[in-house]
């Protein structure tokens, strides 16, 4: 576990101010309990016109379109979009493999999660942060309002890496307990022995809007390994003796690319948001540029 971030300020004030003006774009509209700055599918008392429908008994007369009645001699009701708050679920992978890299993937994931949480809180969305590995390790209750960001920071710093990744079981457990749909942001290195597709299928099944943030380290993309090695899996301690040859390294790199392409292809197929980054990529640029390019922020 890399606890070096525990006492480190994740973001300075200047960075937080920049994030304040960013907003999260949800690809779908979600129903909410409180008014917020999000449009939902539910028609309500908002100011922005949404649609017409035929008047039925009991509808509010104030929303009848009288000009249409004079033209068509039919009672037609104007519908308005109701602005509601958004639920954002941050699934942070805290398996042992996330401690790998310099800086570690978990540290990078903490900062991404903190930044997006702040943006969500600033836009009056409900933010949930869930730490998972081979199950739900810890969960933070829904937070709303910018003032709760420090609570989120504290929660994130207390996350420790450990355990094997089993995203499917983790998501299934969480989704069955929390039925409310929302934006599920999965921040992970995507190394799951059971395959990430089945895990994302769970989120899709519960009709969440999904955004995958795939974090990789340079050591994984282009490992600088030579000679006779015993490779030990950090999650399950399974070891394997191999001789690193240039051709083997090339094969690994090709396999890594194939793996990433498979995830990206899956996300594209089901219209899931996907962004891949490496741990030494400047964090500020990632937030301000990569997410904008990936249509995550506007």
């Amino acid at each position: 576990m890399n606890m070096s971030t525990a006492n480190v300020t994740l973001f300075d004030d200047e960075f937080l101010k920049k994030l304040e003006y960013l907003n999260i774009i949800s690809k779908r509209l979600f129903a909410g309990q409180l008014r917020a700055e999000r449009r939902t599918r539910k028609r309500g008392t908002g100011l922005e016109f949404a649609d017409y429908r035929a008047y039925v008994a009991g509808d509010d007369f104030r929303h009848l379109d009288w000009k249409a009645y004079l033209r068509l001699n039919r009672l037609i009701l104007k519908l308005f979009e109701e602005e509601e708050d958004l639920r954002i679920y941050f699934f942070v992978d805290s398996s042992q493999s996330m401690s790998y890299g310099d800086p570690s993937k978990l540290d990078y994931a903490r900062r991404v999660c903190a930044a997006l949480s702040y943006i969500g809180l600033a836009n009056l969305d409900r933010v949930n942060v869930i730490s998972f590995a081979n199950g739900i390790k810890s969960e933070m209750p829904p937070q709303r309002g910018k003032g709760r960001i420090f609570k989120i920071f504290r929660f994130l710093t207390e996350i420790t890496p450990g355990g094997e990744t089993n995203a499917r079981a983790s998501f299934k457990t969480y989704c069955t307990e929390t039925r409310r749909r929302g934006l599920a942001v999965v921040i992970s290195d995507m190394f799951d022995g059971n395959g990430f597709e089945s895990a994302l299928d769970i989120l899709r099944h519960f009709r969440h809007d999904i955004f995958v943030i795939h974090i990789a380290s340079h050591e994984e993309i282009d490992p600088m390994l030579r000679g006779e090695l015993q490779l030990v899996d950090s999650e399950n301690n399974v070891s394997r003796e191999i001789t690193i040859t240039p051709s083997l390294l090339a094969a690994y790199r090709a396999e890594f690319s194939k793996y990433c392409e498979a995830i990206e292809s899956y996300c594209g197929k089901y219209q899931l948001g996907y962004a891949r980054t490496v741990t030494d990529f400047p964090f500020e640029e990632l937030i301000l540029k990569v997410f904008r390019q990936g249509r995550f922020l506007k």
Partner: protein, 585 residues
């Protein structure tokens, strides 16, 4: 397979230790470094896919160990110097004896000589055998005798440096039990060789007309008259030969004779018209293959009598001997009337000696009292001659072993040369400078004048004093001149390098020629001639056919260890290349 440096058991032990060591080191080397990775999912996929499709992945470790063990075994076993008879031949010793007798200079029909053919055959022998075969080269002149060596280039250089010698050939002592002996010869000089010797013949029949004898001798009936005896023999097909005798003054005698096979032509030539000096005889014939015996030399002494003064009160034996000597112009005087004269060549003092040494050489009998002579220190009764020097010119052909002496003076020889002595005193002493000879006994008190060697002795002494002599007869090769520290020149005056050996001067003369050795006033001529029918008969070979089968040649020219190290080096290079590309471990 056999091993030259180790026993089979030692070699086996070495191989076992080497293999065990390599496998041990390899296992140590194969202990993998532990590296923690985030996840092995991708590595597992890559490895499963590669190993499933690649047999090489499964065999790689075994192949790597086998290569490493092979390299180590090749290096270790090369130390044991293995030998595989089918590849490199067996370890054997070959002695090559090259006939360097004069007949090997005979020309052959292809323009070469028998010697050149012999050298080629010897070199082809070097190409046979395996890399461990040791060679030794010997000649029949006892000049070349190499040690056993596997270095063929060294032996080739040695053969190139060899040449036929004119010395009397002699088959060297070789051990035919421990080595194979090959004798390359024309079979002329050697008719009997040890049975273990394998003969390689370079004989080819050829024509030769050679001078088998040539000498100048006195004519007994004519004082200072000389004649030349020439003997020529035809050893080839019937042919016509041109004979020539030429002298230093341009005198020349020619003969043309028809010679049948094996026919000998002998003639005595009158040299009365020749002036003193070197005489050259030549024999010319068509297709003569052996030029060495086509020329011969002799020396014609300059004709002059020795003007001798005998100073005596009367000595009948001495006077008679001198008067009978055709080469002596004798004068007589008694001691009282003795006067030195510049017109004299030598003095003979009988029991008398002048107070000052004469300017010319002197022969002194008795031990007269004179300051320049050794004084008598007593008298020895009946001394017995126990030692004498036959090599000194004055003692040649003189036997004194049975000379009886009644009494002799005892003297201290000092730095004089003693040529005859008893146990008690010197009996004949010689002074080189000034030149004189003294007998420490009187002729009357011995029977020396009655001996057949006495006139020879007188003649030798007078000749040694200053008379021109016939040339000494020598054969080509190492020539000795019975003069210490003599300077040797050819008849043309060119200096010949020489060495001193036991009071003689020796030099090398491979070709016939006339040489002059000078030491102070003393001058000796040496006629070096082959003049030997045994050598001139170049067709008298017993090696008519080559009975020796060709030796087996092997394609590996070096010992097996060389190729093993070479293979190890190649394998190391391959291993280095494949290891760095992680093809092997």
């Amino acid at each position: 397979m056999t091993f030259l440096a180790l026993t089979a058991a030692q070699a086996g032990l070495l191989a076992a230790i080497t293999v065990a060591l390599i496998i041990g080191l390899y296992l140590l080397k194969l202990r993998h470094r532990r590296v923690l990775i985030s996840s092995s999912i991708l590595w597992r996929r890559v490895l499963d896919e590669r190993e499933w499709h690649s047999l090489w992945e499964k065999l790689r470790r075994i192949v790597s160990i086998v290569i490493a063990a092979t390299i180590a075994l090749l290096i270790a076993m090369s130390l044991a110097r293995p030998e595989v008879e089918s590849l490199t031949g067996k370890n054997e010793r070959i002695v090559i004896v090259l006939d360097t007798s004069p007949t090997m200079n005979t020309n052959t029909s292809d323009g070469k000589t028998r010697w050149q053919h012999a050298a080629e055959r010897a070199k082809s022998l070097l190409d046979s055998g395996g890399p461990t075969t040791e060679f030794r080269v010997l000649d029949t002149a006892e000049v070349t005798s190499s040690a056993f060596t596997t270095d063929r280039n060294e032996v080739r250089k040695l053969i190139d440096a060899m040449a036929p010698k004119s010395a009397e050939p002699q088959f060297p002592r070789v051990d035919g039990q421990l080595s194979q002996v090959y004798f390359i010869s024309d079979g002329v000089a050697f008719h009997d060789t040890p049975s273990v010797v394998k003969r390689i013949s370079v004989f080819e029949a050829a024509n030769n007309v050679g001078i088998t004898a040539f000498e100048i001798r006195s004519v007994p009936s004519t004082p200072l008259g000389y004649e030349a005896y020439l003997e020529v023999q035809n050893f080839g097909h019937p042919t016509e030969a041109g004979l020539t005798l030429s002298g230093p003054g341009g005198q020349r005698v020619n003969r043309t004779v028809r010679l049948a096979t094996e026919q000998t032509y002998k003639e005595v030539f009158d040299l009365s018209q020749f002036v003193g000096g070197g005489i050259r005889a030549t024999a010319q014939s068509k297709d003569d293959a052996f030029p060495m015996d086509d020329v011969a030399f002799a020396y014609l002494p300059i004709k002059r009598k020795t003007r001798t003064l005998l100073v005596t009160k009367g000595n009948r034996y001495l006077e008679t001997a001198l008067k009978l000597d055709n080469y002596v112009d004798l004068s007589l005087t008694d001691p009282a009337n003795y006067r030195e004269s510049p017109n004299l060549d030598a003095y003979i003092f009988d029991k008398f000696a002048p107070n000052v040494p004469p300017a010319r050489p002197a022969l002194i009998f008795g031990t007269p009292s004179a300051s320049w002579l050794k004084p008598a220190e007593g008298e020895i009764q009946k001394p017995e001659i126990t030692s004498w020097s036959e090599n000194h010119p004055i003692m040649q052909y003189v036997s004194v072993h049975d000379v009886a002496i009644e009494r002799a003076a005892r003297i201290d020889a000092g730095n004089l040369t003693v040529v005859a002595a008893s146990k008690q005193t010197p009996l004949i002493v010689v002074s080189e400078k000034p030149k004189w000879v003294m007998l420490t006994f009187n002729l009357e008190s011995s029977d020396f004048p009655f001996h057949i060697g006495f006139p020879v002795f007188i003649e030798n002494v007078l000749a040694w004093f200053n008379r021109d002599q016939f040339a000494l007869k020598r054969s080509p090769g190492v020539v000795d001149v019975p003069l210490a520290n003599a300077q040797i020149r050819t008849i043309d005056g060119k200096l010949v390098s020489s060495e001193q050996q036991l009071g003689k001067t020796i030099f090398l003369a491979n070709e016939p020629g006339l040489f002059a050795g000078a030491q102070g006033d003393t001058r000796v001529h040496v006629a070096v001639n082959l003049a030997n029918p045994r050598f001139s008969d170049i067709n008298r070979s017993v090696f008519r056919t080559d009975r020796t089968a060709a030796r087996e040649q092997f394609w590996l020219r070096r010992e097996l260890w060389f190729y093993m190290l070479l293979a190890a080096a190649v394998l190391i290079s391959i291993e280095w290349f494949t290891y760095h590309r992680r093809i092997t471990l």
